[in-house]
Structure formats: structure tokens, C-alpha cells
């Protein structure tokens, strides 16, 4: 019967149409590539293309579709034009005096309150909040080969900072990254900026001049993503180990379903099945764990940044206050000392110059007893 076959079609559709699992919290799992295909089936390619069809062609198409005369179309255009929505007021910065809408009443109350304040505090976070996003909006590439193809999906990930510091317990600090559906997971991994990647190992109080040869990013290259029961490991370099193995062995002894493994650099986002709004995991450096949330999956729009070389694109970074040297309060601290008899606190931060002046004499001998480590400030990514 015709009805049952349409039902079967609808069921196949329904599997990949994202719906809420918990209202307003997260969606159910869906395959991203199949989701894109469903949208492409339903949409006319002109709708998501970057170019704009000429108005005359649109008019002709509309007339054919609805079977109306050009005169009717003209009348329709004049009725439905944007001028019909124009308001009487020109000035948009201040709330107009005749208030009817409750939104405006609320805004006027707030405006009146603000005028009673004697000091106008400028919230710097707010002033510069959109700055990062605005630098990349609407950017077209110079080379047309770098243009993002129409119908591409953009995924937005919020990557939380690891909760290592006390300050991050109260604020949910995150970075927002936009990635294209055709990119691989390893591209996303490379774009995540975490301060633990830059940490340098070793105690340098005896050899302050020795430049450290490596940073943790080069040394510990393994990482994995955990999405929906599958561990995606980074296997590009020979040093990379499968750090998810310990977790998997542990789960085998307990009551957990079987987890699968896959390669990060072979999987593109189109192959993944994800839940929107659901927290996932990214681990690197062995134990630096980040919560990763997929916040948005959408089609690329002509007003987005269209240069493929700029993706993965960072649109929001939580700004961390950089910690300055305890001595001069001017320079950013590069050294951290512990069990230092000369320092006021334990541990204590110093910039390079103050550190050398304080702990070493003219000939470079070590004064006093202390342990010194190289310090990378969390605010280096600001």
C-alpha cells in the first residue's frame, strides 16, 4: 500500500532528523553526513548558494508558480515591501518617548536608572567580546580555490578549559571553534589552544641560561576524542600511544558497554554520529581533560568567513588575566620558585630580569637555596 511505503521513508528520515532528547538541553544522536543529505534533498540549491538570483528571474518564476498576472505581482510587491514596516522615528539610539511596547518600557526604565548613576563603568569584556568574531566575518579568500563549497556544514564546538585552577571553578571558561564538516578530527585537535601544551619540564635553578629544548606539545603527542562510545586516537606520529587503552581495560572489568576505537586523522566530521549540546571529552598530555560540546550544526552562509584556509576558526576565547612578576608588577612572569628563602610567598612568580637580579649575583652564582621552574602563563593566548 502506498501509505506504508511513505511511512517507511519517513522513518528513515526521522532517524537522522535531529530532535530534542531532553527539551532545550541536547538532541538525540544523528549522523552528520546523513543530516546534510536530508537538507540538500529538501532545499533548492539557489537557497543556500552565495550568489543572488536576479530579481527579474525571481519574478518570472513566482508568476509561473502561482499563475498570476504581472500586474498582480506589482501590487503584491508594493504591499509587501519593506517600507510598510518603517517606523516614524529616525533616532534609534534613545528610546522613543511614546511607549507602548513592554520591551521599550523595560528599556526606558533601565536607561533612566543608568542616567542616575554617577560613574559610568565600562565593561571591557563586553566592549571587546565580539572583536574576535568580527575580524573573520564575511572574509572572502583571495584565491577562489580556497572558497568553501556551497552546502558545506559548519560545526561549532565549545571547548572548556580544564578545571585545574581555582578560578575556573566558578566560571565556565571556554573557547569556540568553527570547523567544516569535511575537515578531519585531527584539524580540530591542532587548533585547540591549551596552556598545558606549552609547559616545559625540568628544574632550572642551577642552569638558568639553558634554553629548554622542547615543550610538552612536542613531547607528548597522544590525544583522543571520546564521542558516543568511540575513542578517536591521534596516530599520526610514532610517539603517539593509545592513551585510551587504560580506560578501556578498566571498563572491561566493570559493567560498561564495549567501547570502540578509531583514528582521528581518518575520520571527518561527516562520518560522525553526534548529539548536539551533549558534553564530550578531549584528552591530551595524558591527563589534561577538556569537556567538548557541539553547540551548533548548520549550513555555511554567504555572510560567514568563506576562506577555507582559516578554518578551524576561533571565534571566542575566554580572557585570562596574566599574572605579573611579584617584584616589578610590570612584566609577565616567566619563572616560578618554590621553597625559596628569599621570596615572600611559596610559590612565587618572577619575570626574567627580576629573577636573575634577585637570585644570582654578577658572576652568575646561585644565591640561596631554591627550586626554579619555567612558568607559562595561562593568559598567553589572549
Amino acid at each position: 500500500m502506498a501509505e506504508s511505503s511513505t511511512l517507511i521513508c519517513e522513518e528513515n528520515q526521522h532517524e537522522n532528523v535531529p530532535v530534542y532528547e531532553f527539551m532545550d538541553v541536547n538532541s538525540k544522536e544523528f549522523h552528520i553526513g546523513a543530516f546534510r543529505d536530508l537538507w540538500l534533498d529538501v532545499l533548492n540549491p539557489e537557497v543556500y548558494s552565495y550568489s543572488v538570483t536576479a530579481p527579474e528571474i525571481e519574478d518570472v518564476e513566482f508568476m509561473e508558480e502561482m499563475g498570476i498576472e504581472p500586474k498582480t505581482l506589482e501590487e503584491l510587491k508594493s504591499i509587501c515591501s519593506v517600507d510598510s514596516l518603517r517606523s516614524g522615528h529616525d533616532g534609534t539610539d534613545n528610546v522613543p518617548s511614546d511607549l507602548h511596547l513592554s520591551t521599550l518600557k523595560l528599556r526606558k526604565r533601565r536607561q533612566d536608572y543608568k542616567e542616575t548613576l554617577t560613574r559610568y563603568t565600562v565593561d571591557r569584556h563586553e566592549v571587546y567580546a565580539n572583536e574576535m568574531e568580527m575580524t573573520s566575518v564575511g572574509k572572502k579568500p583571495d584565491d577562489l580555490r580556497d572558497l568553501i563549497p556551497e552546502g558545506e556544514i559548519i560545526l561549532t564546538f565549545n571547548i572548556m578549559y580544564p578545571i585545574l585552577f581555582r578560578r575556573f571553578k566558578f566560571v565556565r571558561a571556554y573557547q569556540t571553534l568553527h570547523v567544516l564538516g569535511s575537515q578531519k578530527l585531527s584539524d580540530l585537535r591542532d587548533a585547540i589552544c591549551c596552556v598545558s601544551d606549552l609547559q616545559v619540564f625540568g628544574e632550572f635553578s642551577n642552569t638558568p641560561d639553558m634554553v629548554p629544548q622542547f615543550i610538552s606539545k612536542d613531547h607528548y603527542k597522544s590525544a583522543f576524542f571520546f564521542f558516543n562510545g568511540t575513542f578517536f586516537n591521534d596516530t599520526r606520529f610514532p610517539e603517539c600511544q593509545d592513551i585510551s587503552k587504560t580506560t578501556q581495560e578498566w571498563t572491561r572489568t566493570r559493567d560498561f558497554p564495549e567501547f570502540k576505537t578509531a583514528k582521528m586523522e581518518d575520520t571527518s566530521f561527516y562520518d560522525l554520529k553526534m548529539k548536539v549540546g551533549f558534553p564530550y571529552l578531549y584528552t591530551h598530555q595524558g591527563d589534561c581533560e577538556h569537556v567538548v560540546i557541539l553547540t551548533d550544526v548548520r549550513f555555511v552562509h554567504q555572510d560567514d568567513c568563506l576562506d577555507i584556509k582559516l578554518y578551524p576558526l576561533i571565534t571566542h576565547k575566554h580572557r585570562v588575566v596574566t599574572r605579573k612578576c611579584s617584584v616589578c608588577h610590570l612584566y609577565i612572569s616567566r619563572w616560578i620558585t618554590t621553597s625559596d628563602a628569599l621570596a615572600p610567598t611559596d610559590p612565587c612568580l618572577f619575570c626574567d630580569q627580576c629573577f636573575r637580579m634577585f637570585h644570582y649575583d654578577d658572576k652568575g652564582n646561585k644565591l640561596g637555596d631554591f627550586l626554579a621552574y619555567a612558568y607559562v602563563d595561562p593568559g598567553t593566548f589572549n
Binding site: 535531529p18 543572488v52 508558480e65 510587491k77 509587501c80 511596547l101 533601565r110 560540546i293
Partner: protein, 348 residues
């Protein structure tokens, strides 16, 4: 406080503005854009964007109102309200004040419903509905997404959306059941059954045959007649009552009239007090706002000590001294009242 959190206070007032606009549109009982734009100009609705100084705040506000307005295009609202929602989105998109323009997010699951709406409009030859939709598509106002909102797993941003009962589409379940296709199917099955029976079993007299199709049709018809009768009576009654009201405010009268003449279904009652109660529930002093807690300062250690160990009913006898201030200056010791802006005034 970040601008995003501040903008969420606009949820309730904007929702009540939307409902007023759509309520007036419902009262006109038509789906023509001309009527809608007349109401828009009268209410000066494009003024919702006015008054914000920073671009950042404008953007968050625009995103917020699109999220609110978008809900009105989807079921369970009635056809007229959904068309009104579409016009409202067209209006808001074209009168927004930021560049690049904020897009209207439309999820895949809702796209099917919207297509159905447009198809209905096409079949009824509502040219302006289709034209407006085509204009939105061609000006690339839509952003095709997976979910209607960005989901960031933050408890603060979850807001309840209560469907206004006035705008809900009342399905006529009896006519749906007794639709023409269904009746045809029943008739076919009945005929088939008769033939089979005749061919297989010798005709016995006992059982009287029921003509099911005819019965279902008759029931549906009776129900329809009864519904029309009730609606006509209610309208007569309400007309009498609305002429008697002379002193209530003009807005209450108008909104009460909307309630009484609502689009084709049985109305609940015309007392303005009844209506105002409904409006308060939907416009947000109670349930319709975000689930963040009120910020009340907990009692200080001093008050707690006095309450637990002292005599809570008597005021405290301790006298505070401030050496830098003259004794006669009583105001110096009083804690300076940091006047915070109260976003939600319950009497507003």
C-alpha cells in the same frame, strides 16, 4: 553581568508584545499582509530595537527575539497565527539594526512543518504568504541548522515556552476521523466484506447489517451542527456583555473582545479579569522565565548569631562607633544602599 544574561530579562516583555501583536492580528480574522502591516505600524513594532547603545547588546537582543518569534511559525498554533508569525519574522528581519544581519535559524524538523504551511497557503491562493516566504528565502534570511537554538548545556539559558491557549489550533477531531478518505475506505471495506460473506456463507437471516459509513457521517454532521449552535449562542451573549462594559481601560476591552470573537472555536468567557489572569501566566512573572535563582543576600553571621543565641524579637543593643565622623551625623553608620536595577518589577 554579561550582556547575554541581561538580555534574557527582555524575554518576558517581548513575548507579551508578540502576543499582543498576534492577538490583534487574530482579531482581524484575515491573513492579509496589509492588515498585519497596519497593526505593525500602529504598534510601531520596529521600535523594539531602539534604545540599545552597544552593538554587542543589539546582537544578543536580536538573537533572543528571533528565538522567541520563531516559535510562532510552528505547530501547535493555528494557521492564522502561524502566518502572523511568518509576517512578524519578515518584519523583524528587515528592521534589525546590526550588520551583518542576524539570520533566522530554522531546524530540519521544523522545515517540514513550514513547507506544509506554505503548501497550504499556495493551495488556498494566499499570494502574500507565499511571496513573503520567497522574499525571505531569496534575501538569504534563513540559516539551516540542526536545532533551533545553540545548545550550550548551560542551565541558565533554558527557558520555558508556554503556548498561548488563544492561539492554539483546535483540531476538529471528529471531522478528521470522518474525513472523506476514511469514509470511502470504510465503504470499500464494507462492500468487500459483504461480497466475501455472500460467496462463502449461505445467507442467514438473523444478522441485520449496519451501514457504518452512513452512521459515522450522521454523527459527524450532528456534532458539527451542535458546535455551530453553541458558538452562535456564545457570540450573542458576548455582544451583550461587551456593550455593558464602559469603564474598563481601553486595552482590557479590546483584549476581552479578542477573547470573545476568537477565530471559530468555542470561547471560554469574556470577563476581563479572567483574561488578565491568563496574560499574567503567559507573560512571565511566574513560570515563563529562566530557571535562575533570585539573588537574595543570605543573613550575615551577626544576624544569625543574634537569632540563634540572643533574643531574636528584640532589636540589638550594640552601638557602633565611627571615630572619624561626628556624633550627630546619623547617616554615616547606615550601610550605603547600593541601588541595583530591578529588572523584574512585579507590578509592571
Amino acid at each position: 553581568m554579561s550582556r547575554k544574561k541581561l538580555c534574557e530579562y527582555y524575554w518576558a516583555p517581548f513575548k507579551s508584545d508578540c502576543e499582543e501583536l498576534l492577538g490583534r492580528f487574530q482579531q482581524t480574522e484575515s491573513v492579509r499582509y496589509e492588515e498585519f502591516s497596519a497593526i505593525w505600524r500602529e504598534m510601531d513594532f520596529s521600535g523594539v530595537f531602539f534604545g540599545t547603545q552597544s552593538d554587542h547588546e543589539k546582537r544578543y537582543f536580536t538573537r533572543l527575539i528571533f528565538t522567541i518569534a520563531y516559535r510562532y511559525i510552528l505547530p501547535p498554533y493555528s494557521f492564522q497565527i502561524r502566518v502572523g508569525g511568518l509576517y512578524m519574522i519578515y518584519g523583524l528581519y528587515n528592521t534589525q539594526l546590526i550588520w551583518p544581519k542576524e539570520k533566522i535559524r530554522i531546524a530540519l524538523k521544523d522545515w517540514y512543518d513550514v513547507q506544509k504551511l506554505i503548501a497550504d497557503a499556495k493551495s488556498c491562493q494566499h499570494l502574500d504568504v507565499v511571496y513573503i516566504f520567497k522574499r525571505l528565502l531569496s534575501s538569504k534570511a534563513f540559516c539551516f541548522t540542526a536545532m533551533p537554538q545553540k545548545l550550550t548545556f548551560e542551565a541558565r539559558e533554558r527557558v520555558q515556552h508556554n503556548v498561548n491557549e488563544e492561539f492554539r489550533d483546535h483540531k476538529n477531531r471528529v471531522t478528521e476521523l470522518a474525513s472523506i478518505e476514511m469514509l470511502e475506505e470504510i465503504a470499500n471495506m464494507h462492500g468487500h466484506y459483504e461480497r466475501l460473506k455472500k460467496s462463502s456463507v449461505p445467507p442467514s437471516s438473523g444478522v441485520t447489517l449496519l451501514n457504518l459509513t452512513y452512521l459515522v457521517q450522521k454523527c459527524a454532521f450532528e456534532y458539527q451542527q451542535w458546535q455551530d449552535k453553541i458558538a452562535a449562542e456564545k457570540e450573542k451573549n458576548s455582544k451583550k456583555e461587551t456593550t455593558q462594559k464602559s469603564e474598563s481601560s481601553s486595552r482590557a476591552v479590546m483584549l476581552a473582545a479578542i477573547k470573545s470573537k476568537s477565530y471559530g472555536h468555542v470561547s471560554k468567557g469574556t470577563k476581563s479579569r479572567r483574561h488578565r489572569q491568563v496574560e499574567m501566566v503567559t507573560s512571565g512573572s511566574g513560570t515563563d522565565h529562566a530557571l535562575f535563582s533570585q539573588k537574595r543576600r543570605p543573613p550575615s553571621l551577626r544576624t544569625r548569631t543574634w537569632q540563634n543565641f540572643g533574643k531574636p524579637s528584640e532589636p540589638e543593643q550594640t552601638q557602633e562607633w565611627l571615630l572619624s565622623v561626628m556624633e550627630e551625623d546619623k547617616n554615616a553608620l547606615k550601610r550605603k544602599d547600593i541601588r541595583r536595577f530591578k529588572w523584574r518589577n512585579n507590578w509592571l
